[in-house]
Symmetry: C2
Subunit: 335 residues, 2 copies
């Protein structure tokens, strides 16, 4: 049973935008973001409102860059980490675009983009958007500690990115320069990791499973792929992913990039195992990799965003952390 | 811009199952459910585990009734009300079916079934499942009060259904008896309702918007529809929906049924404005309406599940409640 979808109509990425906050601007990718704000509240009153604003700005910027209006868009797929996905619903309500909410934790950029592509490729609409966001402060207080408590972070902990990204998918009318060729829907993978401060370890097996499934289903050779990009495995999870696949005879070590490792400066920013959050993969994909594809500097990427489906309630009940990874094959070549 | 998808390949509902708890068995639809349990824990240790079990049982029962195994299923779309949608992820992890998490609050049965149908109709897979659940106790403690506090409920409050439902969609090979003909993706609608104990009022405008959109997009006459079924508007929301549409010149009063009104006995069960929760629409659709379609007792239904995208955090920040409604046209006739 194949779980990889081949997009025969080769939908194109019409536009995209990235948003980043203060710590992200101080990191390695400072020059690449479309919209930045050093105010952690993004000029709103609360962290949750700030994250809604990030998502609104991401969509608004992507529409503007593409000379499109909200009325042009058939469907928008969105989700985020805040309970009840309120960054998406409150951030996007004023666009009045037919809305489909998704929950995939930090895999959301891949899930929302995958579903947007499914709709466009099937001809259900001409244009669809996938969007997500995260905010350090809204995530910390919900998943971990009140920030004012000043709890110590473990070496395997990751730093939730304040940022987001939106991608607009359009039916192929012969004008495109970035194409979505196929996508693999991930399975729930649970390796019995119970340490909620080590999400990289919980997510790495899901990434390995989905990457293996993609390679098996499509029979594409790794030699044709420039980069295999994970969303936010961080240092701990990335090492594990490379190890797991190595044992299966698949060496991705030279092609693997992790957005959580890329976004912050290891030496000066003290984020321990790197960045995380839906906004990590979303902002790095839209700020760094999609422009490189558009400029034909690279040809083929596999974007594989992973989600640790952890819950404070279930962790307190002693449960392990199931994870998931969805993957898209994105190319600067139609053929 | 039409937001209604016409499913030209007429996917069929291959199977379905309903699950219900103690209070639901004591209600009006006692005789219809596939699986019932009077133990509020469904033989597990916590309410959240019980809700995961409801979702597992719903899928397992639907598969068994259809002589299918998890390996036969290409995709499963699932979501629920518990933070991080853990009823879905923990309940379904052992099936190893490619998983796509959705969040639409109480609209989840319509959203998951709509997306499952999109995948099958497009030929991305032969079989897909939509499933959801809710549990009175997991919802109360998360959204409202600790149950042991014994807080008084307002007259407009609704009672979260302990139950769930799963629907299996299959590509049309000429064998089906229930067909999904089209679906309307809803927009986020916010009428500035801030009373989190009056979800019916928050959701009614979303239902009205989606039903109007469907009728306009498809030009189907109401005279061809047996029932317009809402998920959980309850008494307050149902009256509002009928009023709003009346003012637009659309009279649905004789054809409207609300699962939240149907499931409990008004006189003996003291649920105030009726039932609610993802499991309300899901269990009533799968227990009551789909069998009626299968037996050809009715011909056409519009299943329109609504979601109040409320969040305790945002309500405490003074925000209003955006809502959404997705709709499916389900028929016992292929033509």
């Amino acid at each position: 049973m194949k779980s990889t979808i081949i997009f025969n109509n080769k939908p194109v990425i019409k536009g995209y935008a990235s948003v980043a906050g203060k710590k992200e601007i101080e990191g390695n990718l400072s020059e690449y973001f479309d919209y930045t704000d050093t105010d952690q509240y993004f000029k709103k009153d609360t962290w949750e409102q700030a994250e809604s604003e990030i998502q609104r700005i991401a969509v608004d910027t992507a529409l503007n860059k593409s000379n499109l209006t909200p009325e042009d868009i058939n469907f928008i797929f969105a989700g985020d980490l805040v309970n009840q996905c309120v960054s998406s619903t409150y951030g996007l309500r004023d666009f009045h675009i037919p809305f489909l909410g998704v929950y995939g934790a930090c895999s959301t950029m891949a899930e929302s983009l995958l579903l947007a592509t499914c709709m466009v490729n099937a001809g259900y609409g001409k244009l669809a958007i996938g969007v997500t966001s995260s905010h350090f402060s809204s995530a910390e207080r919900q998943f971990r500690m009140p920030l004012s408590y000043g709890g110590q972070r473990t070496p395997s902990a990751q730093w939730t990115v304040t940022g987001g990204g939106a991608v607009i998918v359009e039916e192929n009318s012969g004008q495109g320069d970035i194409f979505i060729k196929s996508a693999t829907v991930g399975k729930l993978v649970d390796y019995d990791i119970k340490d909620a401060t080590n999400m990289g370890a919980a997510m790495a097996p899901a990434a390995a499973d989905t990457i293996q499934t993609f390679l098996k289903d499509t029979e594409i050779s790794l030699s044709n792929i420039d980069f295999i990009i994970t969303g936010d495995l961080g240092y701990v999870g990335s090492e594990l992913l490379i190890d797991i696949l190595q044992k299966e005879g698949i060496d991705i070590s030279s092609k693997h990039r992790d957005c959580g490792i890329m976004i912050y400066d290891k030496d000066t920013q003290d984020t321990h195992s790197g960045g995380s959050g839906c906004g990590c993969g979303a902002s790095v994909l839209t700020a760094y990799f999609l422009p490189k594809l558009q400029k034909k500097e690279i040809k083929n990427i596999l974007f594989c965003a992973t989600g640790a489906l952890m819950s404070p309630t279930l962790s307190q009940q002693g449960e392990s952390i199931p994870s998931i990874a969805h993957l898209l094959h994105i190319s600067s070549s139609e053929n």
